[in-house]
């Protein structure tokens, strides 16, 4: 029979409903993060320490929302036995993986793009040294890499323990990574420069980060959709 054809085609209408469902179920949390995000943006222009507080708060909101969304849509679904309900719908494991990919990634990358856009504009249009652009962009993409790692691990294991472990591990590693980027003469070295300086090292790091994101997302989706069954 045409089993291969049936497997290859994703059931998009149902995937769409599953994505909406994930967002809808999470709407109160989202509201809290959106509110927090707007608040953190609104205090940025109040002064110097408020700038740092607002920026860090916004990044915290972004990372926390990403992690919260992962744990609610994937881990809780298994823990609270609502996965059986989803599995009874006309979805294949590939459909399910795609739904989880979309619901988690869109929700993360929309505010993330805002973050990138806003920080770049703020740096370029305010007295902050424009040389910061390279550093902040690489940090923003690094945060996205971290989210993708968390997502991939959660997709692969679907256990709370591994999710928490990876999340904590990545957050701990973020600081040394920031330190390394800031100390690198070709990246952080230009932070106080008046003009944007983009070096080969920066390109290299950015490419590595993007490659990591692509590999994580494509790889996870590929392996998940090869699974014929849920269990």
């Amino acid at each position: 029979m045409n089993s291969i054809a049936n497997r290859a085609v994703l059931n998009m209408p149902v995937i769409k409903q599953l994505v909406y469902k994930d967002w809808y179920l999470n709407r109160k949390l989202l509201a809290v993060y959106v509110g927090g995000g707007i608040f953190s943006l609104s205090i940025i222009s109040l002064g110097e320490w408020q700038f740092f507080m607002g920026a860090i708060m916004f990044i915290t909101m972004l990372v926390a929302m990403g992690n919260h969304q992962l744990s609610v849509t994937m881990i809780n679904e298994r823990k609270e036995q609502t996965l059986a309900f989803v599995m009874s719908l006309p979805v294949s494991p590939a459909d399910y993986a795609m739904a989880k990919f979309l619901s988690n990634m869109v929700l993360f990358f929309v505010p993330w793009s805002l973050l990138v856009l806003a920080t770049t504009i703020v740096i370029l249009l305010t007295p902050l040294p424009d040389g910061l652009v390279a550093f902040t962009l690489l940090v923003c993409v690094l945060i996205a890499v971290n989210h993708c790692i968390c997502w991939a691990v959660t997709m692969a294991t679907e256990t709370e323990g591994s999710f928490l472990l990876v999340m904590i591990g990545l957050n701990c590693l973020l600081n040394p990574a920031l330190y390394l980027l800031a100390r690198s003469p070709n990246i952080g070295g230009h932070n106080l420069n008046g003009d944007v300086v983009w070096t080969t090292t920066a390109t290299l790091v950015l490419l590595c980060e993007i490659l990591a994101i692509v590999l994580l997302l494509v790889g996870t989706l590929y392996f998940r959709s090869r699974k014929k069954v849920f269990y």
Partner: protein, 293 residues
């Protein structure tokens, strides 16, 4: 007639459990009860039907689709409710109904409202506070209002209070009138199976003990009470259980024929009573027979 479900020599091995060459056929429009003690393999069988697990060998076809490869197509027409299935606690039943409706074009809103009334359910209540009975009824509303061609129910009546159980069984009896709809439900309540099903399948430790039309199956069993002294072990085919208490004996026989009574008599026993057995008695006798072997 096409079979709604067709298992062909299906094996599935787990560390603690082995589903052993299961053959199972559910003709379209029939109701089959899947009976077995806990751990007999009922849930594994149902998961195979939903395409949630992959058989190690053999083939599973449901509604003409090969599983698990074509699970999406099959599941469009299967309504499935399992005992361990939970709804989203923070939402109410109305939301779940709207969600299912957005996925299944076959959703029948009028029938859904009818079921709500019939089960005396409040659709605006969050499902978190549901009792077990309400949860079962909610699942049934969600799957029945889609009017699926095949209904799979894992332990639908387990743990229900008598009133809920009556309501659920009555509604199931109602939907079974539809000749195009097939139902497979597992239960360890033989009473429910006896009441609802056309055919039964006995599972025990991953093996099929019986898979037969209900009437014929029950008709094939007798409990014979007799007295007298046996000089040698009873020589009779199909004895599932033989109990003696002094000179009184109780024999449970599978594949009963009238000629058997003469054979018992010929071995020196006086027959005092021959009675039909309930499904529950048959079930217990079968399981204990296997346990002895």
């Amino acid at each position: 007639m096409q079979n709604a479900i067709e298992f062909n020599q299906v094996c599935k091995r787990y560390p603690e459990f082995y589903l052993d060459h299961l053959d199972l056929k559910l003709p379209t429009g029939q109701v089959m009860g899947l009976v077995g003690v806990n751990g007999a393999g009922k849930s594994t069988a149902l998961r195979l039907i939903m395409g949630l697990i992959q058989p190690d060998s053999g083939s599973v076809d449901v509604l003409g689709y090969r599983l698990p490869e074509q699970q999406v197509l099959a599941k469009e027409n299967i309504g499935y409710a399992a005992e361990d299935m939970r709804l989203y606690g923070a939402e109410n039943l109305r939301w779940h109904m709207q969600f299912i409706q957005s996925i299944f074009p076959s959703w029948d809103p009028l029938y859904a409202e009818h079921l709500l009334k019939r089960f005396d359910m409040n659709a605006e209540q969050k499902t978190k506070g549901y009792s077990h009975g309400q949860r079962v009824k909610a699942s049934l509303i969600l799957l029945l209002a889609r009017r699926p061609r095949l209904v799979i129910l894992d332990e639908p009546t387990t743990g229900l209070d008598p009133v809920s159980r009556y309501e659920v069984l009555a509604e199931l009896a109602e939907i079974l009138r539809d000749e195009n709809r097939s139902v497979l439900f597992s239960s360890h309540s033989t009473q429910d199976v006896e009441q609802l099903s056309d055919s039964i399948t006995f599972l025990h430790k991953g093996k099929t003990l019986a898979c037969q039309d209900k009437e014929t199956y029950i008709e094939g069993w007798r409990r014979v009470l007799c007295s007298g002294t046996l000089n040698q072990p009873l020589d009779l085919p199909g004895v599932a259980e033989f109990k003696s208490n002094g000179s009184l004996h109780e024999i449970k026989i599978r594949g009963f024929e009238d000629a058997m009574l003469a054979r018992i008599h010929a071995q020196g026993l006086q027959i005092s009573q021959v009675e039909r057995m309930t499904l529950e008695q048959i079930f217990i006798a079968s399981v204990r027979e296997v346990a002895k072997q």
